[in-house]
């Protein structure tokens, strides 16, 4: 009697999202190029711009690009934390707020008025948009570790494709990711 072959190891589920970011980290992730084929042998994509799934399911790894600039960012981040065993802050904006956080020393109400009501060339009676579908902006932009627990950070603006690959291969092998000189940078 032939024994059944051992089942193939379950693929890891990976979700990615861009909050208050520019998608540059996602572009850099795609820059791993043909290594995506090796990655797809090991992981299945859950919610991600690559799959266009709108809700995050139970995942092993969640990669979060961008900081928190509005209420929807906070909600999505909390859903990621609740669904991902390992949550990773990817890139400068997720880690310290990055470029969006450079508005933090300005008052949000003055900023919105300056942009939507006081600029030259606006239509008469222009108002700050307040459609209920628009997520409310936060007073300040926050890095994600200020709202949920983060397991790892992958620094860079963006992290290079090699940094993504090193980080993910370490993580998939069950090792603590080590970037080292050349892959570890803040810009």
């Amino acid at each position: 009697m032939n024994a059944a072959p051992p089942p193939a190891p379950r693929k890891l589920r990976l979700a990615t999202v861009s909050l208050a970011g520019c998608f540059g980290c996602h572009m850099s992730f795609l820059d791993i190029d043909e290594r995506l084929f090796a990655l797809i042998e090991r992981v299945e994509f859950d919610r991600s711009p690559l799959t266009d799934l709108k809700a995050v399911g139970r995942c092993d790894i969640g990669l979060v690009e961008g900081g928190l600039c509005n209420a929807e960012n906070v909600q999505v981040l909390r859903e990621f934390r609740a669904h991902c065993k390992t949550l990773v802050a990817v890139g400068a904006c997720a880690i310290n707020g990055g470029l969006p956080a450079q508005r933090n020393h300005l008052r949000i109400d003055e900023l919105l008025r300056a942009v939507y009501q006081q600029r030259d060339g606006l239509a008469a009676g222009a108002q700050v948009p307040d459609d209920p579908e628009l997520p409310l902006p936060l007073n300040r932009v926050h890095p994600i570790h200020e709202v949920v627990h983060i397991d790892y950070s992958l620094p860079g603006c963006p992290p290079s494709a090699d940094a993504f690959w090193q980080f993910l291969t370490d993580l998939m092998a069950g090792r603590t990711p080590q970037l080292g000189h050349g892959l570890m940078h803040y810009d």
Partner: protein, 241 residues
């Protein structure tokens, strides 16, 4: 026959020193990097950044302000000291507005280089995002206090090397700030010249020469080539104009 120089041990490696030298002076001369931000070989120690803390027996001391003694067993590495160093660096990052991607000094910044070497991947603490001014009043030098780490090197360079009094540290505690020695408080109203050491010694991107931002491409900047511990100590931050 001249007697052999006295030695102390740095993580077990013998380091020769001259009488009166500090631990960091002797270690630097011997090509061994002790992390630091506020120390500079040309000036008396400031002892403020605490990055150079080493352990001798049960005590922790700043290597920049501790005299070398024959037979001392000095520990620089080790998990506890490394964790402490990472925490100090993280505190420096959250205390100011250090946005490396938009800083002209990125890649040649000592704060960034020490943090990368120490394995600082994120800030850990809550960001303060302080509201600090940028002073662009000087024709040749930019002062961006968002990036100042209060190391006091520009203060010492101006007073002790340039013979001027362009900079000082004012205030206390979290309110400490770099102040400019002119009646208006503006850099443009001082006698600072771009060739002054005070204008070039900044280890971060707080004091920068104008019109030279991002002149060195990514990949060729000082710390792109090698980690800070593998490079010789520089005697100033920026080359003279």
């Amino acid at each position: 026959m001249t007697p052999a120089a006295p030695l102390f041990l740095l993580d077990g490696h013998p380091v020769p020193f001259k009488p009166g030298e500090t631990l960091i002076e002797a270690a630097t001369r011997a090509g061994r990097h002790i992390p630091h931000l506020c120390w500079h070989p040309g000036f008396a120690p400031h002892g403020s950044c605490r990055l150079c803390m080493v352990a001798i027996g049960e005590r922790q001391l700043a290597a920049c302000s501790t005299a070398a003694e024959a037979g001392l067993e000095v520990r620089l590495h080790g998990e506890a000291l490394a964790a402490q160093r990472r925490t100090l660096l993280q505190l420096l990052f959250v205390e100011g507005n250090h946005f490396c991607p938009s800083c002209e000094r990125s890649g040649a910044c000592k704060l960034q280089a020490e943090a990368c070497e120490a394995g600082v991947e994120g800030p850990h603490f809550e960001q303060l995002y302080p509201d600090r001014p940028v002073d662009a009043s000087h024709p040749d030098v930019l002062l961006d206090l968002n990036r100042c780490i209060l190391c006091g090197l520009c203060v010492r360079a101006s007073a002790q090397h340039d013979g001027k009094a362009v900079f000082a540290l004012g205030g206390r505690g979290l309110g400490t700030q770099l102040v400019v020695g002119s009646a208006s408080g503006r850099l443009g109203d001082t006698d600072l010249a771009a060739s002054d050491l005070a204008a070039r010694i900044c280890p971060v991107g707080a004091i920068l020469p104008k019109r030279r931002g991002f002149a060195v491409p990514i990949g060729q900047r000082r710390y792109d080539a090698a980690p800070i511990s593998a490079l010789p100590e520089t005697d100033d931050g920026m080359p003279p104009p």
